[in-house]
Structures are given as structure tokens and as C-alpha cells.
Amino acid sequence: MIVGEQKPLEEIMNLLGDARRVLVAGCGTCVTVCFAGGEKEAAILASALRMKSKLEGHPMEVDEVTVQRQCEWEYIDPLADRLKDYDVVLSLACGIGVQAMNERFPDAITLPGLNTTFLGLPEEHGIWEERCQACGDCILGITFGICPIARCSKQLLNGPCGGSQNGVCEVNPDIPCAWQLIWERAMKFGQVERLLEIQPPKNWSRSRDGGPRKIVREDLRLPEEE
């Protein structure tokens, strides 16, 4: 899932500037699961904004709404009528949701209340870790199910760098060395020889480096209306 983290209140206040009427828009999918931008967080943030703006002497009217998915037109379209009542929408969705709102409602300004952090999972309650970089060319099949693009600080494809020690990354002892994990999996399955093959330079053009990406599935497209 997409993992996000709420921006500091101070930063949000700065973004809102002198807006008087604010709609906080939560999202019911990924950011709800990671407790960053769901219905509950939207309500808490809305009330924090009301209090803070009042304390600072320029009270805002803040309402909140949460849609099932801010990244799909059908879920955000019903908001259309409400938006004219507000100076600004503060979205608690990921960056996709924020952009969807701006794209679908070009006359309204939607600002981000979250930092979209990574694609990952809850390792345990209250801890999320990155697992995927959406590089567009999955190599998990040759790295025993552990991604060095997302989990090695240097995105190495041919084994660990010299900074791997005691199972952790040189960057931070809280980061497990991806290549240590890959090596252990290879050992477990008795397939170390698969790691001895030289992996050629990666084709980054399928990643973000090739420019913004797009998928067109002709088999799924609807016929154009007459």
C-alpha cells in the first residue's frame, strides 16, 4: 500500500495562508490503513486547525469529508457541488489523490496535508517499511523475493557493498542489509549459484527515469461514444 505521514501542523497552517473556509478531505484507502489521512485523522486535523486558527486570532471554518478513494473519479465526483463553499481543500490523500482533486476540480485549490512516503507495509503495529519503488521491471524473481532497488540504500544488483556489517546497512543500523537478507534466502534454498551470475545494468527507462509512465490496455478501453 501507499504509506503517508501527516505534515507538521505549522507547515499546513503556512500552506493554508489566509484561507477562511477549509475542507479537509480524507481518503478511505491506503492512508486510512496507515493512520495518516482517513476519516479519523481528518476529524482530528480539522479540529486542530479550528483551534490553532482561533488561537492565532483568525479563526477558520473547517469541515471534513472522507471519500472511499481520492484517486478515482467516481469517488470524488460527488464532491463537486460542495467545493464552491470553500477557499481551499486540504487533502489527506497521497499525492495521487491531491492531484486527482486538482485535475478533476480545476477551479478549486487542493493542497497536500500529507507527505506521501513510500510503497510499503506495516512491519508491526506502528512501524511501516518500504518494499517497492515501482521501478517498472520487477527483479524479485532473481533476488529471492527481496527487492534491492527499494531496500538497498545503493540499489545494488550484484551483491552487498563494503558497508554491510552484522546484517545492517551502513546508512543506519535500523536498516537491514537487503543483500544479507537475499544471501540468507539463497542459502536457505541452496541456490547461492544464482547470485553469482552478473546482473547487467538495469533498464531504468522503465522506471521514473524514462519520464512519466502510462499504461494503455486496449482490451479494457471502452468504445468511444458516438
Binding site: K154, N158, G162, Q165, C169, W183, E184, I198, P201
Partner: protein, 327 residues
């Protein structure tokens, strides 16, 4: 092999000496965090005639310094053969190849292909890193430029090819330990000619690593230079033991450095410094003598970081002067 290089891969002094079977000595020069050419010249003069070639580091520990290629040219002007270090951290494959063409055109003949320390260690921790290639892919690219006359994309190099003697690093103290010799094997398969190891302050572990390397026959395919890092103080020894990722320092070295200043009052900083430096140099000399006897070791690489003055007494003390000359 080409006519221009008389049957050598690059024709560098380092390559010729290794090929002739000499026990080689390399050192390193860290470029300044300024545009002052005199820093390189001064360091180069300290090393001239003392070592066979000297590494020129590339923004080491991710701190911005004078370009390794520019510094290498300055070193050559002082009569010191450079080993240009290049990391995968700061350049993509276009920039790497372009700089390799330039470095060769300027006379550099040795190259050390590195992954690079993570930028979070340096003075620009908010920088974006590159890592378009990893060090093994980098080695293969340089070899293909030299031996196949092709750029990484497959296009032919029309005209002069950059013919580097290709080096890489290996850390016998990194983990997973069992993977390390295989990683070296991959570097050999990619086309590396020589290896410089991480600073060795755990000789038994290095011995075990070399045993595996020799058992795999890798020492016959690549020249391995053992990393020597003279200790400057007890604090430095403790720091390397406790804080530097990928390093292993046996307690005996820390204890020897601590004992070196026993009886010297803390206020007498000069006497303590001198005592530490004497002991650091003595340890380095002893290490070279011990490591020389380990099968598969073709030379030493002395990393006297910001202490280039230590290199001559170490090389001299180890009985490695004068340096051999080959034509």
C-alpha cells in the same frame, strides 16, 4: 592487447610491476576541499619514488573535494602515477564514460571502480545519489570499452579506446562474510585486474578470506593488494573499531595504541602525538611483514589518510625501498 600498449592492458607502471612479479606498494592522496593545486603537489612530492602508484580519491566519504581526475593530472605533473578513483554514487553511465575518455586523454592509466560511500555520511546529506550502475557493472563497462572498443550501449568507440588497468575494492570484513569471496569472483568475471582491500586490522580474518580466495584460484586471475591503514592515535583506533561501518579492528591494536602513551602526561600533547605516530607506523610495518607472507597477496595499499608523511617511513621500515623500475 594492442600495439599501443606493447602487450599490456594499459601499460601503466602499476600493471608492469605486477606483471613482472614485484610486490607493489600503492598509497592514496585525498584531494583538498578547495581549488588549491599545491595540496596535491605537496602530497605527491611526499610519495614520489616511495610508492608505485597512488590512488586519488573521488569525493571520499561523500565530501566534496577537488575532482579526482583533475587531481590525478596534478599528481602526474609531479611524476607520480595516479590511480583514479571513481564512484557510482555521483555519476550515471553517460558521465562515467565521458569522464573515462577525458581521464585517459589526460594520461591516466589506472582506474579504481567503486560503489561509493553513501551521501548521508558526507557534507551534502540531502543530495540525490545516482547508482545507475553498481561497481561490478562499472568494471564490465570499463573492460568492454578497453577490450571490445564499445560503449556500454554497444556503440563502437571510433578511434582511441580508453585502456585502463582496472581496479576495484573488496572488503574482507564486510558481511555476509561467506559472500565476500564470491563477490570478488564476480568482479574477476566482470574483468577486474587488481583489487585493493579495506584497511586490515584483523589479520586472522583476512587470512581466512585469502585462504578462500586462493582455494577458488582467484589470486591467479587478479592481483590483490592488502589495505594498510596506519593508526594515528588510540582514539582513532577506537573510532574505527566502534563506529566505522564495514571495519573490524582487533582489540590488540587499540590496546597497543593506548599503551604507547602510558606514562606521558595528558597535557603533553606533542609527546603523545609523537608516541602514537611512532607506534602506528611500527604496527603498519609489522602488518606488512606479516601480510606479505599470506599466499595470494601481490602488494600493499597504504591508506594514511591526511597523513601522507607516514608512507615513506612505513615503506622504508618494511624494507620495500627503493621501488623497482621496469621498462
Amino acid at each position: 592487447m594492442s600495439e599501443q600498449t606493447n602487450g599490456y592492458k594499459s601499460g601503466s607502471n602499476l600493471e608492469k610491476l605486477l606483471r613482472a612479479g614485484h610486490f607493489v606498494v600503492t598509497a592514496e592522496i585525498g584531494p583538498p576541499q578547495s581549488a588549491d593545486p599545491e595540496v596535491i603537489r605537496r602530497k605527491a612530492r611526499l610519495l614520489k619514488g616511495v610508492v608505485d602508484a597512488t590512488n586519488i580519491t573521488d569525493n571520499q566519504t561523500a565530501i566534496v573535494r577537488m575532482s579526482s581526475i583533475a587531481s590525478a593530472v596534478l599528481a602526474m605533473q609531479e611524476g607520480v602515477e595516479p590511480i583514479v578513483q571513481m564512484t557510482c554514487r555521483d555519476r550515471n553511465r553517460l558521465a562515467m564514460q565521458s569522464d573515462l575518455l577525458g581521464a585517459y586523454a589526460l594520461g591516466a592509466r589506472n582506474l579504481l571502480c567503486l560503489t561509493g560511500d553513501h551521501q548521508s555520511f558526507g557534507n551534502h546529506p540531502t543530495a540525490k545519489n545516482v547508482h545507475d550502475l553498481d561497481s561490478i557493472q562499472f568494471i564490465r563497462m570499463v573492460r568492454d570499452m578497453r577490450d571490445e572498443g564499445r560503449f556500454q550501449c554497444g556503440d563502437e568507440i571510433k578511434g582511441v579506446r580508453p585502456r585502463f588497468f582496472i581496479g576495484a575494492a573488496e572488503n574482507p570484513f564486510g558481511d555476509p562474510f561467506d559472500f565476500r569471496p564470491y563477490r570478488l569472483m564476480k568482479k574477476v568475471a566482470a574483468g577486474v585486474d587488481f583489487i585493493q582491500t579495506q584497511i586490515i586490522l584483523d589479520i586472522p580474518r583476512f587470512r581466512e578470506f585469502m585462504k578462500r580466495v586462493v582455494d577458488m584460484g582467484l589470486h591467479e586471475k587478479v592481483y590483490i593488494l592488502a589495505g594498510i591503514g596506519p593508526l594515528k592515535s588510540a582514539g582513532a583506533a577506537r573510532y574505527m573499531r566502534d563506529k566505522v561501518p564495514g571495519m573490524r579492528v582487533r582489540d590488540e591494536y587499540v590496546e597497543r595504541m593506548e599503551a604507547a602513551v602510558a606514562g606521558i602526561p595528558k597535557e603533553d600533547k606533542k609527546a603523545r602525538k609523537e608516541a602514537w605516530e611512532r607506534e602506528g607506523i611500527r604496527i603498519a610495518i609489522e602488518q606488512i611483514q606479516e601480510i606479505r607472507e599470506i599466499p595470494g597477496v601481490a602488494g600493499v595499499h597504504i591508506m594514511a589518510i591526511e597523513w601522507e608523511e607516514a608512507v615513506r617511513p612505513i615503506v622504508e621500515g618494511a624494507g620495500l625501498l627503493p621501488r623497482p623500475v621496469v621498462e
